[in-house]
Symmetry: C2
Subunit: 303 residues, 2 copies
Amino acid sequence: MSRKVTAKMAKSSMAGPGRRERRRRRLGPTPRPAGGAGRGGPGRAGPGRAARTARGGMGGPRRLLLVSNSTLHGGGYLGHCQQHIKSFLGEKVKRVLFVPYALHDRDAYARTAREKFESLGYGLDSIHESCDPVEAVRKSEAIFIGGGNTFRLLKALYDNSLIQEIRKRVLEDGIPYMGSSAGTNVATVSINTTNDMPIVYPPSLQALGLVPFNINPHYLDPDVKSTHMGETREERIRQYHEEPNTPPVLGLREGAMLLVEGDKATLQGVTGARLFLRGKKPTEHEPGTDFSFLLIDSDLQNL
Amino acid sequence: MSRKVTAKMAKSSMAGPGRRERRRRRLGPTPRPAGGAGRGGPGRAGPGRAARTARGGMGGPRRLLLVSNSTLHGGGYLGHCQQHIKSFLGEKVKRVLFVPYALHDRDAYARTAREKFESLGYGLDSIHESCDPVEAVRKSEAIFIGGGNTFRLLKALYDNSLIQEIRKRVLEDGIPYMGSSAGTNVATVSINTTNDMPIVYPPSLQALGLVPFNINPHYLDPDVKSTHMGETREERIRQYHEEPNTPPVLGLREGAMLLVEGDKATLQGVTGARLFLRGKKPTEHEPGTDFSFLLIDSDLQNL
């Protein structure tokens, strides 16, 4: 039985909840994994419920383009993924709401992003130029959260009360969400698998929860020639999975991206990805891999 | 005028405080820098006061050996610094209290550390084998906190209520403190400049504050041949210094260590260090550098 059918059956068994209740059921609480994302988040759900709601609600129209890195070596800003962006946003979207919180100089960052998006035929509004960021999200046709420092970004999303509003727009209203690097990290369950330095302290490591797993952007294979003794990326992710109830981690190499359309997730780009499941050996995946199974409740994967 | 003389003068100007008050003045609150270490810590002092108390109180006998890395490429566990350890602990110390919280397998970690310290002529007790960790710290002759994941380590120090007790033993009672990698990170103002993945969420990033600055262990120079687009270590530290009121950061290369004896700090090892001050160009420092100026109130350095 497909999950869509299951979702329909579940919906049809709801005996007439009010509009607010129906919305609450679709959107659900922000996920709060037991694996160390921390207290202080807006929701209290365990990972099972989190994963179910992060699927996009009851057959929700979730659309995500989660890019590993903003700039590929030798290319310009978003150059390596510009065709994916055009294809993802399509012709219906006219303006994109940009979130520059991950970098210190927001004006300069917005200029860079605006130039790129205008060259692709889209207008760009930067959220930091709005006097009411929540209202800017409410009015947006599409959201793009750029890279930089993930801790700084997540803290700013909390400080500006944007977590629930972005979740609602993406999971309920179905506006396209694009993230790059830190912007991809915050789209997942938590930022527990960021590579960034914790230069500030967000009220929680729990993030937007638009998918029920974590991503490690800029995934880097071990350098066999290195004499440096710091942990490899794989060792760091293994340490994360030593903690209880930690979700899958998708290591997206630079040049890779994940396209999510409803219940379907596809690996795009050219460099592939490495998937880490708690207690299992990591596996390699080529571009084109169907990762839709990662959108299914992560509890079910352990059955 | 030397700081010791100043400290004596300050002490002589105290008109008969009680024993508890004298102790409070010596030990002071745990530091709480404004630069993003976060809420929830045990103290409420600003960076100025934090720095003053972290000097070791009023002429306190603080003794620290802060090592960048546990294992140097091609060598055994603590092999590259074993002579420094013997010289640091001397013949008076008989047993060392080991803190293995940064790694998941504490038993295995304690075996490794015990073997090494016994080979150097010291007994080793691992704090995780004690039913009362606070009491174990109270009775200890010397403390060694080993490397691993800094977030996991700091969370365990908070969970076991050890922050204040370790500070007291080191800053007031003057027992030797040795840290390696994560154990060096937690000796500083905060773990804002760790390289580790935030696999768990500690109640604060504020750390032991045994010195009034931060350290970046395993400091790594930019690889000019790399095509990887993740931030270099220097860029990450510069991002930290974009935040307000952030203390100096000493980048300790693998093979380097900092010896602190009271008010004197000396760079040891063979690989040197790079010093980052907010708003200034980073500077290179050879082994043997006198870093005592870093022990002076970091507010004063900005005058």
